[in-house]
Every structure is written in structure tokens, then in C-alpha cells.
Symmetry: none
Subunit: 413 residues, 2 copies
């Protein structure tokens, strides 16, 4: 037996007035999800704990069976890992944004107009050429990932993650200096180095041809790098050891890929998968089905519903869910359901009303020959709450799935 | 968004034969509670954990989001705090009863005929005048609260809570000497001091005019003070810090007010609220609605159903529940439901059959614009068990409510 876990990022939601108090998921046309609900067992999941809004990183850690409250060590290192950067013990990594600021360092656009991946890559290439000798000679790596997203890694040892962010989080705020949190010498040094590096970054970005071209085109220049979420790589046991399985991830966003990498999973590249609304769903379905031939467990992650939710775009969220439904129908055609356990859930609720991650539970369906099928006939936040799984926590899902495919070991005798 | 949490003390119950195996809550006429159930999301709560009967103190701590198993440090200090007494770090406080004993110190009435608050206050005033010099000079405070209830605080440092109670808990038992639990010097000293103080109390009570008058009236004299539940103030983070909210409590019982005080909540005095069956429900509803204008979160506590349950009075319990229902209808008329999340639950099950707190779960309803309304149409122990919240723990309620009103912070990114 094998298992595939499909995570639709931020798919769960709250009732929306313009949808007659249905959620976007409830309002979607989703024959495949409903078919899974009919043939499987449903429930709701608190990714971390009731009411607690998780990030995609902590939620994915939990859904892979880890105790995120104990092992989570910051977004930066996970995003770096997921974009193919090696982050070793002692290194610290930051999640960065290409952003637009005015001369007074007031943020005008936290995503530099969601700059295209190609343009950001060219800028990153130039930033990597900087040599920093003061306050100490510093070995660093700066790499852009998707659109405005980038990672910065300081090669250790000697650094501290006990420092503040330079990302003010809001448009209209001034970019703050990074400060040490506490008085540790490493934290003081780390803050100094990142501040120095940030001002070198600004100097290079200011006159960069990519930005000159953006200004000519009327687009906001990516003239500043905002750093946040300094982190180290979580020290977790790989899934291969915990469950004696081969596991792979089919996904596009660096953050989720980083979590999977930290869990020792193989990262499968999908041409056309972008982590955006325009991602190639069918290519993902195909890759996931192929991966299942080699692996015991595949995580298939789709970012699109979360993007639509953050943009408060109800129609786009529904469309993303319907495309996922279509993706699932392709997946199921290429997977032998008699030997594969199929689970579909979301990593968290993202509200199209607030545009934020919320702490409401997410629906889950598990279909496969070993499940105790219940009488839920529709996949939705409320219908699944009546399912046979009742209400579980994110950390419980992986053991449940591994149990269904015979990969758990007895505790006791 | 704001939230109000209504806690009906001991409202939950077990099936009762004389009610055709309905619970008192199920047998009540409760149109407002049913309306809330119809428009909200329901579930059941294990205040601490399944099967574990909580006190109102531990349950309220849990319902406010604290891990009672870790932070609970005895009833005495909470009751003292709630009756307006300052209890500092190092002080220990006792929950006391005015009781009636015979000459052999056998307890005849643990509540001295539920002596009136005024009479008890006069007695307490006299007890406070005692000066204790042996075995050590002791600074103490003795204060009556409601009816037979009182608090005793020994000003520290140097005391220990590792001592036994002088309250035998049962009528017909002899009042025991307080003993140190273990051999710590502080515990030995504390036991000696409280025993000495107790005998001074008896000496003063014996000839007190209030008691002479009670005997004349055929009422049991309050001639002994029973001490139990030595405690210190729990060291917990105030709600204002955890959730960045202003929080207030509308309630009358010292114990619950003490928990709220320890949680940094404002205590709102309600003229007419007594913590008894005769409490002024409508005054409480009005005060709670007013408090919501200033605060993000209000806890409205009603003691009456618990009192009726301890007295094993089924009819009175039903009447208390029906009065609470009426109180809620007034509350809802004065609260803008579109911007206020309304939750109603009990702190524990108190059985009218056993007269004791039991470990059965309690029903919960949460109504408000963000909730995923379910199809539960009646507020009761069994109907709510079919609700969209499923089964949660007490400690999870506060994060759930704070999530619904936008007061939680993301964990991760």
C-alpha cells in the first residue's frame, strides 16, 4: 500500500455573504472531491491546535507528523532549503522580499509589483557578487526563488537568529534597522552584518538595469531587500527513518519544498508548476502519479487557493479549487485506488474576507481500501465535520495514513 | 470584533429519570439558547480532560486558555483575590467555611445553615481583631465573602501550602487538626499557626452576639472556621498580553472573580448579583452589554445552576437555566451580533443526582458572523455533541474565540 497526501494551500475558509454564507469550497463545483468524500472517511483537522493560525511551514511540518511547536526554527532556513540552497548546521537563513521603497526608506510595495521571477533572478545574481569584509568577512548566499521571494543565507558558525526583521510588514512604514533581541555577542554581530549587507544591496539595486527598465515601464523598482524570519534548519528525523518509507514532494513553493527536504523527502521538479494561480495542475497530477510508482508516500502541494485568498479574490479561489478538483480527477485516473490511499486536505484556513491565515480547522478526506467509509457525501468544511474521523490534530494525520498503508509499528506487545 | 463568554456554572448534567431521561438542560424551556444553537456552531467541551471533574476554578482557568494542570495553585488564593483581598507572592490563602460543630468538634452543618452574608461579615470583623503572637507573630487577614464563605490569608514569606485541611468535608466527622504534609520546617510551622489561629477563632465565635442570636432563632451557630485548599496566586500571563485585549468579568462568586483577577481581567461589580439562586440576572445582562462597549472580551458567569445541582434540586436547576435563557435574550437585545461573538457553555457538569461535580463534557455554542454554522437546532448536552465543533478541550476555547474575533497571531509563515 502507498499513500498520497494532497495539500491545497489555504483552501479552507469561512462563510462568505456573497456566497449565501457558504465557504468558497462549499460553493465550488467539485465532483471529484465529493466522490472522494463519498468513498472515504472525512473529518476536520486543527493543523496545530484549535484556533491557532499556522503558516504553511508549521502546518506542513505538522501534517508530516512533526511537533511543529517543538521543532520549528524559522521560515528562512526552510525557504532556503526548498529553493535548492544547502543550509548547514550553524548557518542562518532569511526569507527576503524584493520590495519598493522611496528615498526615506518608506515601503511603497512589499512585493515590488510581484516582480517576475526572471527579473528578480537577474537582480539576485548581481547582489551575490557583493563582497562583505566589514564588520567581519562574511560568506553569504543570496538567491531569488519565485517572483518577489528570495533567500539570504549567512554561512556559520557564529550567527544568531535572535534579531529583529527589516521587513516592517506594512506598506507606508519605514524600513527599520535590524536590532539584536537581547545582548548576545552573536546577535549584535548578526544584526550589524545584515544591516551592512542590506545597505550594499540597496546600492546595487538602485542603479541596476532591471530596475531602470521597470521604472521606464511604469513598474515599481525592486530597490530594497526586506529580510525577516531568521531561521536555522530544524533537526528532525527523516520520514524514511520514522516510517521506513521512500517519500517525495511534488510542489512548487520553496517554503513547502523546504519542509519536505528537511523531512528527508525527494523533491520532484515539475515543469510548469509555479506556485501561482497559473500553475500547471495537470503536469502536477501526472508527476505525482509517476512518483507514486517509485515512492511509498507522495505529498502533492498546490499553492493557488492561498494566493487567491490573500488577494481576497473569491471567484479566483473558487476557480483554483475547481482546477484542483480537475487535477484530482486526472490523478485518480492514473492511480490504482485499490493499493493507494488518497488524502486531501488544506494546510490552514485562509479567509477571503480578512486575507489572512486563520485558526479555523480544515477539512480532510481519506479514501482507500482500508478506511472506515462514513456517510459524508460532500467535501466541505462543515460536511467533513460530521465525518468518521471527527476532529484531529495535524500531527496525527501522518500516523493515520501510515497506519492505513501498513507502515506503523506496534507500541507494546 | 468582540467576544462574550457566558459560563453557566454546573449547568450540564446527566439524564434524570423524573425528566424522562432528559437532562435538566434538555428539559428546560430555552428559546434563546436554541436560537443561538440554530445560528451558531455547537460542540462539547471536556473542561480539563475526558472524565475528569473540575472545580469552577480549574475549569474557568481552562476556559480562559490556561493549562490548569500546570498553573493551578489552590483554591484559597483565588477566592481571596476574587473577594478583593490582595494576595502577594509568598502569601498563602485558605478557603474557609463558617460551620457549626458540637463541643466534641463534630461538624453538624458545614455551612452554618448557609448563614447570611451580613451576619458572617460581622463575625469576620471580630475574628480579624485577634492578635496572634505564638508560635510566631503572624500577620493575617480574615474576610467573609458570600454567605458561609470566607478567606484567610497568611502574609508571607515563610509559609507552605503542604498542609492538610481542617475541613473534614462531611457532616458527622470530627474537625481534624491541620497536619504538615511532609517534614519541611515551613509546613510544620504553617500547620501550627493555622491550628492556633483556628482555636482563637472558636474562642471568639463561641460567645459572639451574632451566634447567640442565631441560637435564639433556632439557627445553627457559626461557631467554627473550617480551613481548606491552602494556595498561592497562580503566576499566569494576563489575557491582555497573550491576546492584546481588554477583558472584564461580570460575576459574583469570589472564586471565579479570583481566576479572572489572576488573568488580569477587570472585575465589574453588579449590584444585585449575589452568586446565589436569587441573583439579579437582568442586571448582569445589562452590565455585560455595557462592559462590551469598553472591552474586547467579557466573561459573564452565573452560579445558580451549580447551587441547585449541589442541592439536588431538579426543579430549581431547570428554573435557573430558564432564567439564564431569559438573561441571554436581554443580552442579545443589547449587543450587536454582527460584531460580537457570543459563546455559552458550562464550566462543568454538576449532577442533580449525585450533587457533585462530574467529569462529563459540557455543551458549547458559539454564534457570530465568522462561525461555520452547523445544523444543530437545540442547545443541550446531546444535541451539541453532533455540532460542527465536535469535541474540544477547555483550554482550546479561548484560542477559538480569539481566532474568530481576529486576536490570534500566526505561528510560522
Amino acid at each position: 500500500m502507498k499513500a498520497i497526501l494532497v495539500i491545497a494551500d489555504g483552501m479552507a475558509d469561512r462563510p462568505v455573504k456573497e456566497l449565501d454564507m457558504k465557504t468558497p469550497l462549499e460553493a465550488s463545483h467539485k465532483p471529484t472531491l465529493n466522490q472522494l468524500a463519498k468513498t472515504g472517511v472525512c473529518g476536520i483537522i486543527d493543523p496545530i491546535s484549535p484556533g491557532r493560525p499556522p503558516g504553511s511551514d508549521t502546518a506542513t511540518l505538522a501534517l508530516l507528523g512533526y511537533d511543529a511547536l517543538k521543532v520549528y526554527s524559522g521560515r528562512g532556513a526552510l525557504e532556503a532549503l526548498g529553493s535548492g540552497v544547502t543550509v548547514s548546521k550553524g548557518d542562518i537563513a532569511f526569507r527576503c522580499n524584493f520590495a519598493t521603497a522611496n528615498k526615506d526608506l518608506v515601503v511603497l510595495d512589499r512585493r515590488a509589483g510581484r516582480i517576475a521571477t526572471e527579473g528578480a533572478a537577474k537582480l539576485a545574481e548581481s547582489l551575490q557578487k557583493i563582497r562583505l569584509e566589514k564588520p567581519v568577512r562574511t560568506s553569504f548566499l543570496f538567491k531569488s526563488t519565485i517572483q518577489h521571494r528570495a533567500v539570504l543565507v549567512l554561512r556559520g558558525p557564529g550567527w544568531s537568529t535572535a534579531i529583529s526583521d527589516s521587513d516592517p510588514g506594512e506598506v507606508g512604514e519605514r524600513v527599520p534597522e535590524i536590532r539584536p533581541l537581547g545582548k548576545s555577542r552573536n546577535a549584535v554581530l548578526t544584526a550589524k552584518v545584515v544591516n551592512e549587507l542590506s545597505s550594499e544591496f540597496r546600492r546595487v539595486l538602485e542603479n541596476h538595469p532591471v530596475n531602470r527598465n521597470r521604472i521606464e515601464q511604469g513598474e515599481p523598482p525592486a530597490n530594497i531587500i526586506l529580510c525577516r524570519s531568521a531561521g536555522t534548519v530544524p533537526q528532525i528525523e527523516p520520514l524514511s527513518k520514522t516510517y521506513r518509507i521512500n517519500a517525495a514532494c511534488v510542489g512548487a513553493t520553496a517554503l513547502v519544498k523546504g519542509v519536505c527536504k528537511a523531512a528527508g523527502m525527494e523533491l520532484i521538479h515539475v515543469p510548469g508548476a509555479t506556485g501561482t494561480f497559473q500553475t500547471d495542475y495537470l503536469a502536477k497530477a501526472k508527476m505525482a502519479a509517476q512518483a507514486l510508482e517509485q515512492c511509498d508516500f507522495v505529498l502533492l502541494h498546490v499553492k493557488a487557493p492561498d494566493v487567491a485568498s490573500h488577494d481576497r479574490n473569491v471567484r479566483q479561489k473558487i476557480e483554483a479549487i475547481e482546477r484542483i478538483d480537475n487535477m484530482l480527477s486526472h490523478l485518480l485516473k492514473n492511480v490504482d485506488i485499490s493499493s493507494v490511499c488518497v488524502a486531501v486536505t488544506a494546510d490552514h484556513t485562509t479567509s477571503v474576507l480578512t486575507g489572512r491565515h486563520e485558526g479555523d480547522p480544515v477539512p480532510i478526506v481519506i479514501a482507500g481500501s482500508n478506511v472506515r467509509r462514513d456517510d459524508v457525501a460532500e467535501f466541505g468544511e462543515r460536511s467533513c465535520a460530521k465525518g468518521g474521523l471527527n476532529r484531529i490534530r495535524g500531527i496525527d494525520l501522518m500516523p493515520l495514513l501510515m497506519n492505513l498503508i501498513g507502515k506503523t509499528r506496534i507500541f507494546g506487545a
